[in-house]
Amino acid sequence: MIFECNVPVNFDNNERIRLGHGGGGRLTNNLIEKVFKPIFSNEYLDKLHDGAVISLPSSKIAFSTDSYVISPIFFPGGDIGKLSVTGTINDLAMCGARPMFLSLSLIIEEGFEIPSLVKILNSIKEVSQKLGVNIVTGDTKVVNKGKGDKIYINTTGIGVIEHNLDISPQNVRVGDTIVLSGDIGRHGASIMALREGIELETTLESDCQELWTAVSSLIDEGIEIHCLRDLTRGGLVSALNEIAKTSNLGIFVEESEIPVIEEVRAICEILGLDPLYVANEGRFVAFVPDNYAQRTVEIISNVMGTTARVIGKVTEDNRGKVIMKSLIGSTRLLDMVSGEQLPRIC
């Protein structure tokens, strides 16, 4: 994959990460000075202290961590850097928390190209900067070649809760409407299409994006949000099942209301995948009382530029389960599947 990037002057395009870069000595300092500092300089990192000392405007905070091991590390619509920021920010957003601070830990395989590292770090900077999120502390380790898959990233985030809503599965109520923020399956389908041995030609990109802007708009407009859940691996079905089980209520959705764009459908038809189970990285479901449903759809569609839709509701019966009305009017249990969906011929 060929790309342009601004490599700091003192590294050339052929340079690679060496074991010494993680050793804590001169090479590490070199890396910090020449690569990290130019990209991430801020009042916290510039102190070069062991930990970041921060002040928070509220004592009600959300705290979340996630590790990112995706392969390929560069994909249409994003890279592992962008994902490592949006992923954790979105987890905070699902708690109704405004993301403020992130830690950034890298585990890099010896021999990883520095231009690739710079590109990833720039992605991280771009996404976090857009939301005013500061990377305040970090760590870099280097492992022997063969002991890591190019680069692994962990981000841990702190967000503040500046409202009185209690956004959690425990707060889901019978009769709540379920709003889906947009069409599903873009991330998983676009990555599957790329795989060696599959190689479908498509302009489809991952939906990887931050969700806080949409969530904060809902909060600002006074929507009584009961619960939020972002869709990731396992797709829409996993997210709904998690809520159904945790809240011990039933979920009923209509297949005809679930938006799937044509390219995702095509990739899924060709490979025998079900879009309902395909991974997403920039979609969520919101559980709101019925009288807020229409406004919720409008706000999300406006902010995200997607087609948000009411897809179903929370029910008293079928507790812990997700039931779907199919296109031809029959009903079907949507259960979690074990493991990743694989392409099939049969």
Binding site: E199, E201, T202, E263, G272
Partner: protein
Amino acid sequence: MCLGVPGRVVEINYDTNPLMGKVDFGGVRREVCLEYVPDVKIGDYVIVHVGFAISKLDEEEAESVFRYLDEMNKISEQLGE
């Protein structure tokens, strides 16, 4: 077996052996072997299974699923059912 997806032929590479071409499925394209539909033309629809076109889709017959019920109703009316 099963997974056969209809797509539109957008490219035919006549100098390949076996005959290869490109098929468009709702905006997604793939290289497909057309050896088993040798008289296919650009714009035709084919059914594709594991990268091979196994038949040319008969666009007239494709309507039969929708005509069938109407035909049944006509017959029933004639029989006075």
